[in-house]
Amino acid sequence: MALYFGPLVSRRLSTTSGKDYRALFVIIDCDANATYSPDEDIQEFISAHWGSLGNPSSLHRGGQRARALLEEARSSVRALLGTSDRSQVVFTSGATEANNTCIAFGAGRKGRLLSSQIEHPCVLEPLHCLTSQGRDVALVAPDSDGVVTPDALEAFLSPDTAFVSLMAANNEVGGINDIEEVVTRVRRRAPQALIHTDAAQLVGKAEVSFERFGVDLLTLSGHKLGALSGVGAIVVREGVLVAPLLRGGAQEGKIRGGTENVLGIATLGAVAEAIRWDLAGRIEGMRRLRDEFELLLLKALPDCVINASGRERLSNTSSVFVPGVRADDLVVALDLEGILISSGAACSSGKPEPSHVLTAMGQDTEKVRSTVRVSFRAEYAPGALERVVESFIRVVARMRRITTEGRSRYD
């Protein structure tokens, strides 16, 4: 099945509020690390399969059709991750469930649990919970670029280390960790340890090979790739007998009870397939946008700082410190311009909290408060990038001018 990933741009003429300000309102989504929202092809894909699906565990043909979709998706995910047929791919309700499952499984072993300070909350929170239950949990600090180096991690390794969980790439800053090297060191110093990597952000933005990484468990998220949200997966090395977090039926090789989200999983399979056929082009498209954005931005606002710019990092992610501007306000102002970015990670509460990643990198409150994340999709309509840069520069200049004027007016 061929999927075309078109530009994410919505053109719409406002008609609701009358004649006052009919305007062409174009949304440019530069928040792909929060959600890589599904393209129209996915909508078509869903329509094509709508109504024909039974419970994949059913014997009848409705069940068979659903089961076939599931297995096709499984093989697409395998192919994307270069996974051998002997490894298992287990679908979950998302990366949060996938990571919780891996951590609960790792915590079933005796010994130290090792992770990093810059993990996603769905890794950190289960670990905090284990700490409060008296488990020995160590969290490695990143360097100032938000990268957890193999040396830093190795310092925490001991023969009794039972479980290591390290994200493949950071969602906020984009720093990429050397998982292959980390695995080598862990195998040498703690041969008993089970190794997990949360690859939710790396998949689709770099070539990811489960076999080359050499980890025991790899987790990913569907909606970070362009599938529907509510789908994730765990890749499990052969011989690793993961205990289910959700107990119920015998679905997903008895590792995950509960009827599968068939359509959601099928969309994950579809995007995995599409990405696999053009991964290099996709990465190149993202990188070009990111580099061009940074070049133009720094030219106009030379006091901005791109985090981790000298390091290997996600091809689509710019973490930008904008001195003198509140990141949250910049996000709002750009949203009103039709440009979607974020300050740190997407937060579910609605109220922005300071980024634990930037804090762990040793950045002061002012930097944390003034850092935004721009994360690109692979493709946009012509002129989109220019508009992003133009708006960004204009809004920053406006906010700085207002702060200065406010001071002179009141002080």
Binding site: S10, T15, S17, D20, I27, D39, E40, V332, A333, L336
Partner: protein, 380 residues
């Protein structure tokens, strides 16, 4: 594809409006009325206080709690306007909470709503609105703004029961120019009726209380949040000890309830608070009467008065209606303007007890237009 609809079209451009939405019915209707005009709107809820951190019972205080923001979000969705929760906690803590506590510590009566309007709503919110590209700020206050040949005039809300102009006396001309009070022309029952008719989910919500950040008892709050004051004496004007109190922050001048002083010949009122000696002076109602009192930190609101003060010829006198508490109707008084920041007020016929630290707000003789306001000073 992301479909955002008409939501936000035109917002962030000149003449677009940030509407402060607390999740209550008044600001919901304010947003609704503005949306009917077709003006580009941006809904903002101001996160001023961390209720989770600061409340034992995790209770729903009065407004601006997370549950209220859910209501605001629903109204914004109904009106199809963009909506954001914006963080003001640092400013609120510094300019409102800290000042609130300090004022109590000095034996004065604070008015946090005025500080919040001055520093948070009409200064920081405005600046942030400008940053969003919005030229105007609208709130659900019951007050009115009128433009004349020489500037902007602040009037009481049409519903005198709900009028909130008293809390707005620090508004400057440039702020009034870019402020909208859409509910000021309506009565509260009318606002509720509009909300119901429009199907706003907040139509039948209960009224919010006076102080938004206090969930339980005000005195307990001050005690908990940082008052170091301990017990002290109740004394008469003559200095005779008549009882003991549990901290001066529990009292305000003019207060009658909660003194728990038995066996006195007539009802006792707090007539003075002495923070240095940690004493609360009590007396009869007539002991509260002061012929005149000084007001400091004056803000001049009426354009003619602003010009007159700017001319710098002091002192000058005029007759006004003076309101010395939020729930006071105002009585006639003569003011002598001493300089641009202070004036002296004398009662003409009727009088009212004044609490140092509270706002004295001056209206015209019709008791409709707000002219100026300041803080009642401790000294005579």
């Amino acid at each position: 594809m992301i479909e955002i609809g008409s939501n936000g079209v035109g917002a962030g451009t000149e003449n677009s409006i940030v509407v402060a939405m607390s999740g209550g019915v008044d600001s919901s209707v304010a947003a609704y009325l503005l949306s009917k005009t077709g003006a580009p709107l941006v809904g903002v809820s101001m996160q001023v206080w961390d209720y989770k951190k600061n409340s034992d019972e995790n209770s729903r205080a009065t407004c601006c709690s997370p549950a209220d923001f859910c209501d605001a979000r629903r109204v914004a969705a109904k009106l199809d306007i963009p909506y954001y929760v914006v963080d003001f906690e640092a400013t609120f803590e510094r300019e409102v909470i800290q000042r609130f506590i300090d004022t109590y510590e000095q034996g004065l009566t604070p008015n946090p709503c005025i500080d919040c309007n001055t520093k948070v709503k009409f200064r920081e919110l405005r600046e942030r609105a400008l940053g969003f590209g919005c030229s105007h700020v609208a709130t659900g206050h019951y007050a009115r703004i009128k433009k004349s040949h020489n500037g902007y005039h602040l009037l009481r809300g049409r519903d005198l029961e709900k009028d909130q102009s008293y809390f707005l006396y620090t508004c400057r001309q440039h702020e009034l120019e870019h402020t909208l009070f859409p509910v000021g022309d309506y009565t509260k029952p009318e606002i509720r009726a509009i909300a119901r008719e429009a199907g706003l989910p907040t139509a039948d919500k209960a009224e919010s209380q006076d102080i938004c950040f206090v969930a339980g008892s005000l005195q307990d709050f001050v005690t908990k949040i940082g008052s170091s004051r301990g017990r002290g004496d109740f004394v008469t004007k003559q200095g005779v000890k008549v009882g003991e109190h549990e901290g001066i922050h529990r009292f305000t001048v003019g207060q009658r309830r909660g003194l728990s002083l038995g066996g006195m010949a007539e009802p006792m009122y707090v007539v003075e608070i002495d923070p240095h000696a940690n004493k609360v002076v009590v007396g009869s109602k007539s002991d509260l009467r002061r012929e005149g009192f000084k007001v400091r930190e004056m803000h001049w609101v009426n354009p003619d008065l602003i010009q007159k003060v700017a001319a710098g010829v002091f002192p000058f006198e005029c007759e006004v209606t003076a309101q010395v508490r939020s729930r006071h109707r105002g009585v006639r008084a003569r003011i002598k303007v001493l300089d641009e920041s202070a004036c002296y007020i004398t009662w003409i016929d009727d009088w009212a007890a004044v609490s140092p630290g509270q706002a004295a707000v001056l209206y015209d003789l019709e008791n409709e237009e707000l002219l100026a306001g300041g803080r009642i000073a401790k000294e005579a």
